[in-house]
């Protein structure tokens, strides 16, 4: 497992810089959360299918040394009580993880925006 604890920028007195991130603000659509999506499609599974993958990402980041689990949980708590307090879980956990990774320099907002465009194009492609 690889990765290194690079580019960490701590905000004084906090585990993470709480300033809002434009890209993530544009994604916080409550209508897209699992608690709204699931009943719309009569699905009873309490968690979205991607929840398992999100937890695995958190585990893998910690195992690789890029983002320690305890450190992440502290930062998640701060973000969950402030910036993303209106968003339910697990979407809150996901937004917080992305926020922490951007604010700590593990990825840039531009890189994430580019990857979102790539993934969206791939998932929304319609086979001819």
């Amino acid at each position: 497992m690889s990765g290194s604890n690079v580019g960490i920028q701590q905000a004084e007195g906090h585990y993470v810089d709480l300033r809002r991130i434009t890209l993530l603000e544009s994604l916080r659509n409550e209508e897209q959360t699992w608690s709204k999506l699931a009943p719309r499609w009569c699905v009873t599974n309490p968690d979205p299918p991607w929840q398992v993958c999100l937890d695995a990402t958190c585990d893998a980041l910690s195992a690789g040394g890029a983002l320690d689990s305890l450190d992440r949980r502290h930062a998640e708590d701060e973000l969950g009580e402030t910036v993303y307090s209106e968003i339910p879980n697990p979407e809150r956990q996901l937004l917080a993880l992305a926020h922490i990774m951007v604010r700590r320099g593990l990825m840039t907002e531009e890189e994430l925006a580019r990857q979102i465009r790539i993934v969206r194009a791939r998932l929304e492609a319609v086979q001819e």
């Binding site: 709480l18 993958c53 585990d59 708590d77």
Partner: protein, 253 residues
């Protein structure tokens, strides 16, 4: 001729094609689904972890559930020798119900240390677990922690006003019963072994395991005949966000 219905441009016979209707699924791509994939792929691209690391943790996560803990409790209720092993060597007792704490890496995960203590309830002693620091939880044996367990509100209040908080969950602990709140820490995981309820004489392990729900092993509910699921729980917001916590200055790099 059997009745048919059109679905997706082709026909299925109503009787004989499928034994049961397809489970409903969300046929819509959400922004969050896209974000999860984007974060993961970018992390792999940057070398923060490998796709193989992620696959291993995904499979491990996907296989976790409270069912193993339920089996452990049911077995302890019916087998005194096993029960003594549950207390003397919980990791070995876990293996007997199919859980190896060393998975998936050979030394567990980075947040599930290989140390577990099982707390035995009695008619005069009740336990409840929490992690005031973050959300430490015996994931290998109980699966993923519920969100209310992770919420700062529960973590802050259960240690201060345990009887009141348990009452909010619908569990009234009589004053004559001693209540102990066990705070998990970075290296210790706890699980509650509840008292076997009356009305279960002669039950099989499988029957008993059905009433040992996740919440009874956290300690916010008691097992009883007929109660086989936990249902939704409220997640209360924090009353004094962030200002009551914050990064300790000595922890700063």
């Amino acid at each position: 001729m059997a009745n048919t219905h059109s679905h997706g441009g082709h026909d299925h016979p109503e009787d004989g094609g499928h034994d049961h209707p397809a489970a409903p699924m969300v046929d819509e791509i959400s922004d969050f689904e896209i974000l999860e994939l984007a974060v993961r792929e970018l992390a792999i691209e940057k070398g923060l972890f490998t796709a193989e690391d992620h696959r291993a943790f995904s499979e491990w996560n996907d296989a976790r559930s409270p069912a193993a803990g339920s089996r452990m409790v049911a077995k302890a209720w019916t087998d005194p020798a096993y029960k003594s092993r549950v207390f003397s060597d919980p990791l070995a007792a876990s293996k007997e119900v199919g859980v190896d704490w060393s998975e998936p890496s050979g030394f567990g995960t980075t947040s599930d240390y290989m140390h577990m203590t099982v707390l035995e309830d009695t008619p005069t002693l009740h336990h409840v677990i929490v992690c005031t620091l973050c959300s430490c939880y015996p994931r290998p044996i109980l699966g993923h922690s519920p969100y209310w367990y992770r919420a700062p509100n529960y973590r802050r209040r259960i240690v201060r006003w345990p009887r009141e908080v348990l009452a909010e969950f619908g569990l009234i602990v009589p004053p004559e019963v001693e209540l102990r709140v066990e705070d998990s820490n970075a290296k210790s995981r706890f699980m509650v072994l509840p008292v076997r309820p009356e009305g279960t004489d002669g039950w099989s392990e499988e029957q008993l395991a059905e009433i040992v729900t996740r919440d009874t092993m956290i300690g916010i509910a008691m097992p009883k005949p007929g109660r086989t699921s936990d249902g939704p729980r409220p997640i209360h917001k924090a009353s004094r966000p962030v200002h009551s916590g914050g990064r300790p200055r000595e922890a700063a790099p």
